[in-house]
């Protein structure tokens, strides 16, 4: 049940992405091209998704726990730091270069197009490489440093 529901939620998400035009880089890039061939469709995608989620979360997050878990795993950090802003700035730069974001590209993989496979392969390399850098640059956890001391 748990896995079937995750599959169906993914399918619903993917249908939304495909129907909305988020899986189509030409459409995404035209949304960002205010001074050229502007296509405002993405306002409706993000607006529709945001308002729906905003309303739904009000009810869901009042519940004591999710159906298949012990608690809601929601980020609690409120710190706006260089990693968040620098990373997001880089994401926007990359998004503006080719028009694919992770949520648009994963469903687009299903079309089997080589361009999507190329982007997702590079995306995965980028994610894994950054994780390695993060792990190396992060100070050792308290237990490990206690050992050293």
């Amino acid at each position: 049940m748990r896995l079937l529901s995750a599959y169906l939620i993914g399918l619903l998400f993917g249908l939304g992405i495909a129907l909305s035009g988020m899986a189509n880089p030409a459409k995404v890039l035209n949304f960002f091209d205010l001074a050229g061939s502007w296509d405002p469709s993405l306002v409706f995608v993000m607006g529709g998704a945001l308002v729906t989620t905003f309303i739904g979360y009000r009810f869901v997050l009042k519940r004591p726990a999710p159906l298949f878990g012990e608690r809601f795993l929601v980020p609690t950090s409120t710190r706006i730091d260089m990693s968040l802003i620098g990373g997001s700035a880089a994401f926007g730069l990359g998004w503006g270069i080719a028009g694919f974001c992770p949520g648009g590209a994963l469903p687009a993989l299903g079309t089997g197009r080589i361009e999507v496979i190329t982007f997702v392969a590079a995306l995965i390399v980028g994610i894994l490489a950054s994780r390695v850098v993060m792990r190396l640059s992060r100070p050792a956890p308290p237990t490990a440093s206690a050992h050293r001391a």
């Binding site: 495909a18 189509n24 205010l34 995608v45 159906l67 809601f72 802003i85 982007f119 994610i127």
Partner: protein
Amino acid sequence: METVFTPLASLTGGILIGIAAILLMLLHGRIAGATGILAGALMPAGFADWSWRVAMIAGMVTAPVAIWLLSGAMPAVQVPVSTLALVISGLIVGVGVTFGSGCTSGHGVCGMARLSPRSIAATLTFMATAFATVYVARHVLGG
């Protein structure tokens, strides 16, 4: 490359994305962020954590096939950039979403819906740099 303005399909698609995000929170207690789901599938923290992510990604990937079965056509994927641009873009997006802790779905939809200050800051930042990048690429460099 011209595209057609599709307010109704885009709004319907957006609402479906929102319903998926609500259901993932209701059933699994998770944020529907493509970055987090993918990263966790690549570096699993145990089988139970890995399996729901893979199931969800499998659902996403089968969506175009479902549309093809229903309508007889795959959804449009028009890529107006070179292979080199795709590779560079993929690498930059991968680095950006990892350090930025999320992308359009995680910050732009789920985080904004929770009124998270981090997600609002992230979304304003990546939208701004995406607009700037397309402006520079198309109107300054003339790509």
